[in-house]
Amino acid sequence: MAKLMEYLSAEKLLSKYGIKGTSSSYVDSPEAAVKFAANSPIVLKGITDKAIHKTKSGLIETNLTSPDEIGKGFARISKAASRFKPYRILAQHMVKGGTEIIIGGNVDQQFGKMILLGLGGIYVETFKDVALRPCPIEKKDAGSMIDQLKSGHIMAPDQKSRDMLTELLIKVSKMFNDNEISELDLNPIILHDGTYDAVDIRILKQ
């Protein structure tokens, strides 16, 4: 039976493979969240393995900076999450702007582990513009995944961002391939300022 990996452990696993997640911490009170924010904008997320879609379930509050905003956001999530007990609330520093992409993975019953790349957020569902490859992938496979996508030039408009994305895909493929993972969702990863942040991580262990 597949089991959702605890968020910070999942983040730690990514970092072992050099995949950068945004800085996160569990908060058990609005005060703890305010302290974590330290006057810069944060995101609060209700973490539970009972809800697949955080946005649709009302489990995400973004761009909270003042103690008042944070307090109200904390209360709204607590209310929405009460349907999905047990849950915890995670605070993350807000990553603003940039291009959202998704890198995912699942296990095909015939061909084994597959890695997926697509433009993130609502685009992946609307345009279905995704590229898929069996793992492990090499540099040339990563390049051909980007080239296959209509949105390829949005994700990788220049050589530098292309190199970064290629490297990231190979790292994720290796992490997925090396570990007993049945499903993987890095959705979204935000590409910004020549770097990236995996801001939401969902890993199901085999």
């Binding site: 015939q110 084994g112 597959m114 997926l116 992946v124 279905k128 490859r133 069996p134 040339k140 993987l184």
Partner: protein, 466 residues
């Protein structure tokens, strides 16, 4: 069925048999065993033929017949088994005991109707004797060079392809036989045909491995519904794509690749999408419809590889030139910028009315000589990677001399050339001659552009691995 990794069954005894036992051979017209026996007699199989029938004494169609395989007491390369399913396991066991090197089981009545018990017995026997067994529930094998033919289709109902370099594999018998019939009408000939039915023993991995190392096979066309060993398929597909092109039409893709139910990956990566991903990674040429097998088959069988996408278009019809331009650009291909030298040469050799630009419309009255001059100039231009020649035979200048010129050109052609020709009987008589001589002819610019695109994409994969 579990197989050790990297262990492949050798199919050569089945394709190049010196002796064939036809089990279920019969004098009675209409019986499958009769049709197969008749085919072997008709095509003039040069090896030994041993009819086997438990109920028959004496001779079948003039050949000494045997009640049992064990009665033959001579080496047997291939046993073709066409008897009711219940008797097949014991017969296969007897074949194994007698040292029969390979078998094709055409009989149905196994896993496809739920009789997995019977099929499991076949698998065990094949493993025990390490015998390549094709089927059950299949058409089997055709090889026009070794003149083996296990297809139970009466000769008069299906055209037989000439000998050539294209091998065709079809899981399905009906797609197999109907496409084989169409292949017979193509200029390229057939190397090997195999329709492997339930794939109880010999599966797509064994077949691709055999064809990868088969010198007679230059191109593989494949109708596939599913693979049994995914990981091994990826390995063997990578291996063969480095040696020769494999065009696959995958049946059963309607589940639609990508489902939008949730944003999580499980639903985004449907099984059809997984096949496409595997094909892309391993350099497989993806066919989208049955016709693609033929369109792609003929360009791969006759034209050299090319990685550049600059296509010169020469036409004797303006409208077709426009359609060709659209078709090229829709398929990721572009026009070349002709060199100064080409422009100067063309200005001298073409009439004043001809606009020296792409597409090069050389006029409705263009004859073989004018076509030839244009063809030569663009061929020598290093800015041109491949050529699409549109020859409409309804025009006054196009006749058998034009067809001859193209054939001659094609024989020493260094750059890929495709011809677009469409029309009725007069046109057909000329396109047939060109195709017979190894010129790929298409009925529309779109078909030709898609074939060129497939050639270029595969060539790039061979060059760089992508």
């Amino acid at each position: 069925m579990e197989k050790a990794k990297h262990e492949y069954l050798d199919l050569s005894p089945a394709f190049n048999p010196n002796s064939v036992a036809i089990i279920g051979a019969s004098e009675k017209p209409g019986k499958v065993g009769h049709v197969i026996m008749q085919n072997y007699v008709d095509i003039g199989f040069s090896g030994k033929i041993y009819p086997v029938n438990i109920n028959a004494e004496g001779k079948i169609m003039g050949y000494q017949s045997y009640k049992r395989v064990s009665g033959i007491k001579k080496p047997i390369d291939l046993a073709v088994i066409a008897i009711p399913a219940d008797g097949v396991p014991a017969t296969l066991e007897e074949c194994g005991k007698c040292g029969v090197k390979s078998a094709v089981i055409v009989s149905g009545g196994f896993a496809e109707i739920g009789r997995t018990d019977l099929q499991d017995k076949l698998v065990k026997t094949a493993q025990k004797y390490k015998m390549p067994v094709v089927g059950p529930n299949c058409l089997g094998i055709m090889d026009p060079l070794s003149r083996t033919d296990t297809l139970f289709l009466p000769t008069f109902k299906i055209d037989k392809p000439k000998i050539g370099g294209v091998s065709f594999v079809s899981q399905s018998g009906s797609v197999g036989s109907s496409t084989l019939d169409l292949i017979s009408g193509e200029g390229f000939g057939l190397a090997r045909f195999i329709s492997y039915g339930n794939a109880a023993v010999v599966d797509e991995v064994d077949i691709l491995h055999f064809l990868a190392h088969d010198e007679r096979t230059k191109v593989v066309l494949f109708y596939l519904e599913g693979v049994k060993r995914g990981k091994e398929f990826i390995e063997v597909a990578k291996e063969i794509s480095r040696i020769k092109p494999v065009v696959i039409l995958k049946g059963g893709t309607t589940s639609g690749g990508v489902s939008a139910a949730h944003s999580h990956t499980a639903s985004l990566a449907g099984s059809a999408a997984a096949y496409e991903a595997v094909f892309r990674q391993t350099g497989i040429v993806i066919a989208n419809e049955l016709e693609d097998l033929l369109y792609y088959g003929k360009i791969f069988a006759t034209q050299p590889l090319v990685t550049g996408n600059r296509i010169a278009v020469i036409t004797n019809g303006g409208g077709h030139g426009v359609l060709a331009s659209d078709a090229l650009y829709q398929n990721g291909l572009v026009f070349p910028k002709l060199s100064k030298k080409s422009e100067t040469t063309l200005r001298k050799t073409m009439p004043a009315l001809v606009n020296i630009a792409m597409p090069l419309d050389i006029g409705g009255e263009a004859d073989a000589q004018r076509f030839g001059a244009a063809l030569q100039t663009v061929t020598e231009d290093s800015n041109v990677d491949a050529i699409m020649m549109i020859a409409l035979f309804q025009t006054p200048g196009a006749d058998e001399k034009l067809a001859d010129m193209v054939i001659q050109y094609s024989k020493n052609g260094k750059k890929p050339l495709v011809v677009v020709s469409t029309g009725g009987k007069y046109t057909k008589s000329h396109t047939d001659i060109m195709e017979e001589s190894g010129v790929p002819v298409y009925e529309s610019p779109t078909q030709a552009a898609r074939a060129l695109s497939a050639l270029i994409n595969y060539s790039k994969y061979r060059n760089t691995g992508v």
